[in-house]
Subunit: 238 residues, 6 copies
């Protein structure tokens, strides 16, 4: 089984980190690969950058289909391009946000997303609506630029922890979702300090992808996620 | 006041038609322009084509900002790229779908969208959720390829009318929203035959845009729709 | 085109102020008139006063129909009598609350109403439900008697501003809706001080009314908003 | 204990019938009275007539307060004037629609309203939203003029039964709510024929009113339903 | 008429107290009985204990049916076993939580539940969803062990009052629901101190049960609440 | 890793079948066991039987904890006892219904449950609400007694297929969820005939359970799903 982790931004350091954490928990028979677009946005902190990211996602899924990829995990909070990817792929496509939310709903009654930067709260709320879990989850934003995480994940720990504690006290959160890809190194220390499950959507998404492939489930090609019309052509990005 | 109608697909015939219908109802002081991307999709009937369209919309808004455009109307059902456009624009950006839904809610208790092709029902439902009118509106799809409308709008009249009648009988619709840009020629004959208001979102969107500009309202730059981060660069499409 | 601003309360000073602000932004071809009932309530701060106001609204629409009015704007937060007015009128009837909410949804992701007095929060919530925007808008009340605004709008500025700042900080509001008619003089100074759009529903409602009339849209007479039964007689209020 | 059944329309035959059915099930210590306005609408089949009815309801509650009434039941489907009445009354005010919906929710998982005429579906949906039971109840309209029921309730039996059967088959209804006051004579025969509970909101409302009074519960005067402002004056209807 | 108050836990002191408060407000013709299971949980503060309680509820309803009981009130916040009881009973079954919520909705626009211990907030939210009143009610938990209430109800008064005041200030509550059975002695002092209605669901539930029986309404046996399949056998608990 | 499939009913043939289908797709390192209660209900087709099933589920989880089980899958549509099990277990507990719904939401825009018998539609709707996917899924019931499936799964194929086709045509379903445990043999033939994914929640649930365990996620013991109070004692069923 071949599963592809798609980093929709162009920052290679994130891709490397994603591959490492995902590979560590894949089952022996799973080949995990991780890719990123050559052009686009260095991080995705706005709708405009999401549009660039979606283009990259489509190109990487197109390549993945030719390479025999069985399922994809989109490793960007907000699940950039997930609907486009489902149209192009035969197999399942899982966004890290929806995977994290679904996992949270299985182990906690209420939970919170701590995302960054604050202007992207709307992106989380969009996925939250699509998953239907709006009445069990709150969204909180912290003021950390995504690219600062490139070299120093640990530095964001205290600010994430402080906001998570507010979520537990004010929103009755019983689990915390890390609202950014590439933070899996925070899972262990934060869950220890908070005393509640802390969820990284990329690793969960990988395991759910393995599960869907194992059960033979693929993206439905009936209506919404059918392949794009024959006239559709993906542009080459410069 | 300068208002720009953005056709997110590459079909010039639609753009021409949109300009004509919008210009016909603009107030004397309004300069209406209509644009389309040079590359992208000939019609937008999938999420994949929406992603291409969003890229074109961003480029046209960027150009519009340099040309002093005061407001934009996105003339594609599903409001392709509307959130991206709001980040780039200073003035208001109005999607034809949300404009049609808002107008419908002001003149009818319940209403229906008749859109095409059926696989795009999910796109209408997405906007319907964002406008909040899900409990007053149903979405129906008819099996007409968008590009067939390029030369012969009238041909779609009977199938649109038949579906609209079902909406009135089964969904209690009291007004009908045309779920595609460029169908404004159907408004008059269909409303005559059906006996209920028939709504074209592009012309309504133009008037709402004029209204917002007249009252001095611009896109809020606080948080969600702030300008994209400084590092953001729009690619040139080939 | 003739558009009638209806002030459902009996305070003439409000009517004068509404006419002034609405006239200032109407297009040259629009004749704006503003009316108020001879009897009823001096201000509308309870459901009981709303019922009196609705009676006045019906009488003014009845008179307006005979005078060839093309559309109506109801200038009372809570949209007193809007459903009754739609039954009596041929053309569109727009409540200032729904107009403000729709405008806000076009320029901001989240927004808040600051209304007065606090007991009328339920009235705002009623319209909020009807527009469907409950999950994007909060309602806050300030303790200012409506009639104190008759002579001194500016005095309410600081208390409105303070509550609006709370809405921005606690509710993530990106735009503010003024929850009372006759406060259009606050739009400019408050939006300057807050740095976000501040919305007066009366002026927006006027422009939306112009827009609906221009596109030929009238109130649907199919089912809900059909004319009242033949036996219906409006009483003369003493 | 004194409970007042308020018929918001001017048709005395309905009032007599309501008094009879309510008196029949009141407990010995309860004095039931039934009133109607001298002027207003002969039946309430539109929002415009609801506004007239609300005025009458306020006047009758005002009189009731002076006569020591402990609670009120509003006997018109749509609960005309219920919010106004709560502001004027000290004791509880119960609408027949909300009472019927609450009773239905206690004895069935899903249920349907069969109301008349069809244009008033919106009135039922308004109350349905306020009670929160929208996802357990559907609303169906039958084409019977209210006043035809004045002399011949039985004539509406077959059309009500036919629609109720559709509700059971298509909407999974397990109980039926009669969507008009004065139909209590249909309860017994229809429930026999349908095999499911058939609910008349007036009799249920009377019993709930007795119950609230017995437990000492009165309308909360904190905020929303506080007494109208001191300046409020009820007009004398001609 | 015979009405049975079911205490789903094994603490006899609660049962005695429930019988006393319910008997005090029953009408002369009503015989009130109160029962409790011989085995199960001493208090119900978890889902696990709810499951034990449901078993006891079923056994007590089975016995009640043989003893000619006309209706049941489940006297545990969370309405333990209410759906099971409806399947076994012919007459109505009313949970104290749903009764309290319905009563609150008839006398206040917004209200709050103050329940205990905090981990049971999810139980209240479950019933809140079923009644549909989620958007009018908040749920607050206080840290009082249920069994401490056995001998000293008054001791919980101050902590309940403090939380109720927060509900009034922060959640706009206009009435307070006591989120535990057996607290009816708090109704009078708390409503005096708070100035808003304070609601005990058991006494309200008794009155609603009397009302449903008086109007002839029984649990619908069509579909959801039909009697359990013939093979169903209730175990004897040791 | 040890995962326990819990069949809440007493029919051994189902347990055997569940073990076979789950074992077939588990990864090499996973030990799958399947258990059933010694007493309870032969099938779960009512709330009353669900209560018996919940008791059995608790006992099996208690035993599982002592045997070192890492996660549980509840193999009964409606997810009998899932909340109780989460309180008793350290590791994750997954209901087959929620697993199926989550999987469906990852591969299709809209989907339908086909469950049996029809009276259990309410059970599916309960889980549907908890997962939040009500607006993307419909529930349809077919009239097949569960126990008839014990020996002849294939016999239910045609009736399931017929109802699934209605779901595709009328509800726009793009995937079908089998609303009963033990039907995994229908997945392959039905998906072939229908042309859309057909989902068995037990096998998906097993894979999700493996995934959660692999990522180190356990049931949150903060608040709602904390262990039951110390006084809690599980009864021995006779």
């Amino acid at each position: 089984m071949k599963i592809c982790i798609i980093n929709p931004n162009t920052t290679a350091a994130f891709t490397t980190r994603l591959l490492k954490s995902a590979s560590a928990i894949a089952v022996p028979g799973t080949e995990v690969i991780a890719v990123q677009p050559a052009t686009g946005a260095a991080s995705i902190e706005s709708h405009a950058e999401e549009a660039l990211g979606a283009l990259g996602v489509m190109q990487m899924v197109k390549a993945g289909e030719q390479a025999g990829v069985d399922a994809y995990v989109i490793a960007c909070f907000g699940d950039t391009g997930v609907h486009q990817a489902r149209e192009i792929a035969r197999g399942p496509v899982i966004g890290m946000t929806e995977a994290a939310l679904q996992a949270a709903s299985l182990i906690a009654h209420r939970f919170s997303i701590v995302t960054l930067p604050p202007r992207t709260r709307a992106h989380s709320l969009r996925v939250l609506h699509e998953t239907g879990l709006s009445n069990r989850c709150t969204v909180r934003g912290v003021d950390v630029p995504v690219l600062e995480l490139e070299n120093d994940v640990a530095a964001s720990g205290p600010i994430m922890e402080a906001e998570a504690r507010l979520a537990m006290e004010q929103d009755h959160a019983e689990a915390i979702i890390l609202g950014c890809a590439g933070l899996s190194d925070l899972v262990e220390p934060l869950s220890q300090r908070l005393g509640v499950p802390v969820i990284d959507g990329v690793t969960v998404g990988l395991k759910f992808a393995e599960g869907l492939v194992a059960t033979g489930l693929r993206t439905s090609k009936h209506s919404t996620y059918n392949y794009p019309p024959a006239a559709f052509r993906l542009p080459e990005l410069p």
